[in-house]
Symmetry: C2
Subunit: 250 residues, 2 copies
């Protein structure tokens, strides 16, 4: 079998739950007047960081940040380096490998094998973006380059799965939050609404979240002050293992 | 940055829970007289498929099956093709990507980027192996080639994690089994014993296993006939998502 030159690249789907303005366009690719369920009537959405190609191939389509692996670096370091051109990597709260995209025809020209990553940025971060770069709701992607839309879909599926059995929401949430804000984050990341009371009960019982003891002032709607929580851990862990499978205490 | 030629390869850790003979050597790399906890005094162990290098570099060390990605194939197909030289791929009940090993110095010579896979074979399969290939207990690996020992460790960690929140044990178990056999499999794969009654209760409640209605004849120890189960699904699924995060029924 003849082996021609192959390029290896990283591609990162950086996600953030963002509050888009309602009733007006919120940037390129964002339909106006749309409102979502999180909470009903507002537009908190899972968004992905994309840049617009100024040159062919596929000029005008939108791409994930990434680029060619350097000779002297590993893939994780390369992904972080490529991201640093688009967003301050200190604002990344989580980065993990997804799968490798290796279809021989995935891009025109020399073969490129892409290691895909999922990156997360918390709700309250507001990274400065280069002029060619913008946040787009995952529910309304613009024309995507090559197979980058498929990478976004893989990343979204991985995130939704991990929300169900890990504490990964720590990487999307501010350092402290009310349950109302946390529900808004879960709803946007999952794409459907969840019940605040159930969410609080499940996450507290599994020690995923911890009350800080503080309360937040009531919102415009009034009512009682809301308890403020934080995530118990700031590293990824499986929160929900079968108790029957834990090693026995000695 | 200068880019020299880079090779992309697959490497697969194929695992099987195997019953090694007690009290005597069970092949190269297997210590004699060792007995484990699954069940106590027997030697059911998680084993990995390795082949011995007949040539330098690192002649005499043991390697995972794998090899160079062909120009006209994707990585998953390549991993299956490489494996077919060592084990009939029809016996593989599960294959998934782990992470990519991309350290520039991981092997001598031209750079090789390895996509690592986890493969599973059920307890009762007995693939015919080439002469250079053998099953080794993961707890007593022989001298391993390059970073292949690290790949095995990643695969073992992934498997143990997935045993706790998915039905992945379907790929290690025979098509039907008693709880005693299933406990033996979990114990070997996890490296510590689990309680049969708890295991049955948790897996049945979560609908991971289903009684077939049949019973197995008592073993040498006598006693009542044991209920026979099967896995409800033969594809991987997360079994243990937060109920609070399920979409509401309409």
């Amino acid at each position: 079998m003849h082996h021609s030159s192959t390029i290896h690249e990283s591609l990162t789907a950086v996600f953030q739950v963002r509050r888009f303005p309602t009733g007006k366009a919120a940037g390129q690719g964002v339909a106006s007047g749309v409102s979502g369920p999180c909470p009903p009537g507002r537009r908190t959405e899972l968004a992905v960081l994309l840049w617009e190609r100024a040159l062919d191939p596929q000029k005008g389509t939108w791409s994930l940040p990434g680029g060619r692996l350097g000779d002297d670096e590993g893939l994780d370091a390369s992904a972080r380096r490529q991201l640093a051109e688009k967003v301050d990597v200190r604002e990344l709260t989580h980065l993990e490998q997804l799968s490798v995209f290796s279809d021989p025809g995935r891009v025109p020209g020399p073969r490129r094998i892409a290691s895909a990553y999922l990156g997360l940025v918390p709700l309250t971060a507001e990274p400065e973006l280069p002029g060619d770069t913008a946040w787009h709701p995952v529910s309304a992607l613009p024309a995507m380059s090559f197979d980058h839309g498929t990478v976004v879909e893989h990343a979204r599926t991985r995130l939704a799965a991990k929300l169900s059995y890990t504490n990964i929401a720590f990487a999307l949430a501010p350092s402290t939050f009310t349950m109302s804000t946390l529900r808004e984050i879960y709803c946007a990341a999952l794409g459907y609404d969840v019940d605040t009371t159930n969410l609080q009960r499940v996450l507290a019982r599994r020690k995923v979240i911890t009350p800080t003891g503080a309360t937040a002032a009531p919102g415009r709607a009034g009512g009682r002050p809301a308890a403020v929580y934080r995530f118990t851990d700031s590293g990824l862990r499986v929160t929900d293992e079968f108790a029957a499978l834990r090693p026995r205490a000695e």
